[in-house]
């Protein structure tokens, strides 16, 4: 569908690490179409107005998770967010709570480190011999974690979380949701290892349940629920360690 262009003003954060002491903003007035997403406008600016603008994107269909930015103060996937939702002026900034590498591009390294910390891979108590066949899982077992496996690593939840802003050691919503996803997987035996990470300083108990992560998550992963469930399971695990020898671990 196409429609006649109207004009909108974009106030975009700019930061050149070689030249700028602090981030600043540039303003662009451009023609936009009604059916555009915010990302279309940024691409227009880059292609037609200012090729020095840096921003990340790839799939343009809300699956790669690379186009997250603050749009009028809210973390959004810019390829999924319709421009029509906004008025004449749209403010685009890099994701909050992340160091800024350049313009709208943020430093992802710490996010990846937090992901790695929760051991997001299958851990088996005993490796299965090939002749034993594949690991089977019932639909009900899949349902126990499926929602938490839908994360696209877009980092919007980190940008929305006030605990991430104030507690740098906090694992953060998506990393906990991912660890919890493996803990809930019937094929995995790594929950004791992950729960140790969850109980560390900056683990699940650092969360004060702002619930902002779930509000902004574009894939309905509900990471806040994962964090609270992980808290409960860790308390039970801890309590069990007093009544069952070695916490029930063999």
């Amino acid at each position: 569908m196409s429609s006649s262009p109207t004009k909108k003003t974009f106030v975009v954060t700019r930061f050149d690490p070689d030249q700028d002491e602090h981030p600043r903003t540039d303003t662009y007035e451009i023609p936009v179409r009604e059916d555009w997403k915010v990302l279309d406008a940024l691409n227009y600016i880059k292609d037609e107005v200012d090729p020095t603008l840096s921003h990340r994107w790839s799939c343009r269909m809300a699956v790669c998770g690379s186009c997250g930015m603050q749009v009028n103060g809210e973390p959004k996937l810019t390829c999924k967010t319709a421009l029509a939702e906004y008025g004449d002026t749209v403010v685009v900034a890099p994701l909050a709570n992340f160091p800024v590498v350049r313009d709208l591009v943020v430093e992802m390294e710490a996010f990846m480190e937090k992901f790695k910390a929760v051991k997001p891979w299958m851990i088996h108590a005993k490796e299965r011999a090939a002749e034993e066949g594949t690991y089977l899982q019932s639909p009900a077992e899949l349902q126990a974690f499926k929602q938490f496996s839908m994360c696209i690593n877009c980092m919007l939840c980190y940008a929305a979380c006030p605990v991430v802003a104030n507690e740098p050691s906090f694992l953060g919503p998506a990393a906990v949701a991912l660890g919890h996803r493996y803990n809930q997987d019937s094929r995995d035996d790594g929950d004791a290892e992950r729960n140790e990470v969850f109980r560390e300083d900056g683990g699940v108990f650092a969360c004060s349940y702002a619930n902002e992560c779930s509000e902004v998550c574009p894939k309905n992963v509900d990471p806040a629920a994962a964090v609270q469930q992980a808290k409960l399971l860790n308390v039970l695990d801890w309590a069990k360690s007093f009544v069952v020898p070695r916490g029930g671990k063999s």
Partner: protein, 148 residues
């Protein structure tokens, strides 16, 4: 655009990257606007929880000492308008705190509770709010002297 600042080391990698970075900003509208308001108010209710808890402990202490005059003096001190207003505000704050907590509670339950699947959210809503109303009715009846 927000000017609020996150901690400078928020989401900073353990080893510095190849380029200089600008420090992170806080989420916009922190902490007085938008959805953050409910979160901040929920946390602020901790003040009422702590203070009312302290007052109740004091009452139990005085009652435990078995001195009717001290108990009477405590009740009279609570008749002070400042206390009355404080208790009224505390009541509102703690009822709201409780209801928000109950709304949040079902999410905190894992998909399986022991061998059973998690009950539907409506079950938690009815059970928690029902228990809250029953406990409140019982407390009021006791204080009113309906139940000796």
């Amino acid at each position: 655009m927000s000017t609020a600042r996150a901690r400078i080391d928020s989401m900073r990698p353990s080893r510095p990257g190849p380029t200089r970075t600008a420090p992170p900003a806080m989420p916009d509208q922190f902490w007085t606007q938008g959805r953050y308001r409910g979160y901040v108010a929920f946390g602020a209710c901790g003040f009422f929880l702590l203070t009312v808890g302290g007052l109740l402990l004091r009452a139990v202490w005085v009652l435990g000492n078995g001195d009717p005059a001290a108990w009477q003096a405590l009740l009279e001190s609570w008749a002070n308008p400042i206390y009355v207003v404080f208790h009224a505000v505390s009541l509102l704050a703690l009822v709201w705190f409780g209801l928000r907590f109950f709304r949040v509670f079902p999410k905190t339950q894992p998909p399986k509770i022991g061998p059973f699947p998690r009950p539907p959210d409506a079950f938690f809503a009815v059970a928690l709010n029902g228990a809250f109303l029953a406990a409140t009715a019982l407390g009021v009846a006791l204080l009113w002297g309906v139940l000796a």
